[in-house]
């Protein structure tokens, strides 16, 4: 696509980007795959929107299979996911021990 440079005067932001807020973290969430039922509540309540619940299709509809991924580039380690988890499957652990 042909482009040309256009100058804009005055205050505005033209780049959509993220701060690497993961560097703030002093504790990090650790998920116990055995306890996790992939209910998605942690994803719903994560303020940074970095929790992704990935469900696989299985033959037995009652049994959920899959995993929960957290983007550690941005996770601030607030601990809300661990707090809202109804199955105690998330533990906040010290970054230095991680």
């Amino acid at each position: 696509m042909a482009e040309k440079v256009k100058t804009i005067y005055g205050p505005c932001a033209l780049v959509y980007c993220s701060t690497k807020t993961g560097t703030w973290r002093i504790v990090r969430p650790q998920i116990d795959g055995e306890k996790c039922v992939l209910c998605g509540i942690c994803e719903k309540y994560c303020p940074t929107g970095v929790v992704n619940t990935i469900k696989m299709k299985t033959e037995d509809k009652k049994k959920a299979e899959g995993r929960v991924e957290i983007d550690m580039t941005y996770c601030k380690g607030c601990g809300i996911c661990a707090n809202v988890c109804p199955h105690d499957s998330i533990t906040m652990i010290d970054e230095r021990e991680a």
């Binding site: 804009i8 005067y9 005055g10 205050p11 505005c12 932001a13 033209l14």
Partner: protein, 400 residues
């Protein structure tokens, strides 16, 4: 083009209608109210195709104008006095966002004391907010300067909002014969508005007016300064184009009988007519005096102004406001600065006249001219046509 009797307020509203403003947000204030009223009438009866937002304050009036203009619409608002003061915060936003909003300002004194009447303290208090300021001498000026203002302000090299100032009551409520151009002529002069710079557009997202670090702030202010540097030649061109289109000439400064003048009074706005009348009377007596009217106070036409003053002439400035704590009124301070910046050594006498609705009477003008002609100079600003009992206006008896 037809000639109709119009008060200054209506001349401003006619210009705004002819400029096809698309969003109107005006809050009524004496003596500007007729502008807010007539624009609502125009939008109501279809003479103006615009959205009329009946705002609850002048602060909101300017905020609405800014929001709407960012979407790519020519907007219209007008105010006066304390209304302009309430708008103050948003004046800087309009200027910083480079939105070429054109706003008639009906000059009225600021509080306190309360006054409903004319002086220039309101617009002078706003002179550093980054707006151009044009001052009208009569009702025709009001209409013409508004149209010129749109043309100059919206120029891509300028993008500076503009106040078109008219003296409260003296012009706003004075009926004069005004040539009103046809819509076709104005359409030829003023193309439809386009957002050339910052904008709110779903198809081209940007975040406007976020926090700017010290590493960029000065540069953005410099961009505004450059807009003003470009403004003067653009304004001159716009005035020449206006003359071609409509046959009336305007200029950022207008000298009257200055070429051979021994004494010159510099003035703004409606009082310039009175000064010119006195110039004629003095000339009839063989006294060489002149008037230099500043139309564009911002940008300040420094070079042209200094060039219009013949060598050896004595110069005084009639300020219709005072810069408290400064050597003189704001216009005088700027003229002194211009003279010095152009490498001249001329003493400029400061005068304060016509505050809070007081007429600038012949007695004030003659006393100023006579002082200049007599070679009298006082480094202190002279307050003209004042009561002798200025310092003892109110007294009462108190038990000892």
């Amino acid at each position: 083009m037809k000639k109709v009797m119009l008060e200054g307020n209506f001349a401003a509203a006619e210009a705004m209608r002819l400029a096809r403003i698309g969003v109107v947000s005006a809050y009524p204030i004496t003596p500007q109210s007729p502008i807010a009223e007539v624009l609502s009438e125009y939008t109501g009866d279809g003479r103006l195709d615009a959205k009329y937002i009946r705002v609850e304050s002048e602060h909101t009036a300017m905020s609405v104008a800014i929001g709407a203009q960012l979407t790519g619409v020519r907007t219209g608002t007008a105010t006066s006095s304390v209304g302009l003061a309430l708008m103050f915060e948003m004046l800087g936003v309009a200027a910083g966002l480079r939105l070429p909003i054109v706003m008639p300002v009906v000059n009225r004194a600021l509080v306190s004391p309360w006054s409903l009447w004319c002086d220039h303290q309101d617009s002078m208090a706003a002179r550093d907010t980054g707006w151009m300021q044009l001052y009208a001498e009569d009702c025709q000026d009001v209409l013409d300067l508004c149209l010129i203002a749109y043309r100059a302000a919206e120029n891509g090299d300028v993008l500076v909002p503009t106040m078109v100032c008219m003296d409260g009551f003296f012009l706003s409520h004075m009926s004069q014969a005004v040539y009103v151009p046809s819509q076709q002529d104005v359409d030829d002069f003023l193309p439809p508005y386009q957002a050339k710079n910052l904008k709110l557009d779903i198809a081209d997202p940007m975040f406007v007016n976020n926090l700017i670090p010290p590493t960029e702030f000065m540069e953005m202010r410099y961009q505004q300064h450059t807009g003003f540097s470009n403004a003067l030649p653009v304004l001159n061109t716009a005035m020449k184009e206006f003359e071609t289109q409509f046959g009336r000439s305007h200029s950022p400064i207008e000298p009257y009988c200055c070429d051979d003048a021994e004494a010159i009074l510099i003035s703004l706005g409606s009082m310039s007519g009175s000064v010119k009348e006195m110039v004629d009377q003095y000339r009839a007596q063989g006294k060489k005096v002149g008037n230099l009217k500043i139309v564009s106070f911002r940008p300040f036409p420094e070079e042209d102004l200094v060039a219009a003053i013949p060598r050896g002439a004595r110069v005084g400035v009639l300020d219709r406001s005072m810069s408290m704590g400064a050597p003189a009124g704001p216009v005088c301070n700027d003229v002194r600065s211009a003279i010095s910046n152009q490498g001249l050594n001329v003493r400029i006498q400061g005068f304060v006249v016509g505050l809070g609705g007081r007429d600038v009477r012949p007695v004030a003008i003659t006393s100023a001219f006579d002082r200049l002609l007599a070679g009298q100079y006082d480094k202190d600003v002279q307050w003209l046509d004042m009561s002798d009992n200025a310092m003892t206006l109110r007294q009462y008896r108190e038990a000892i």
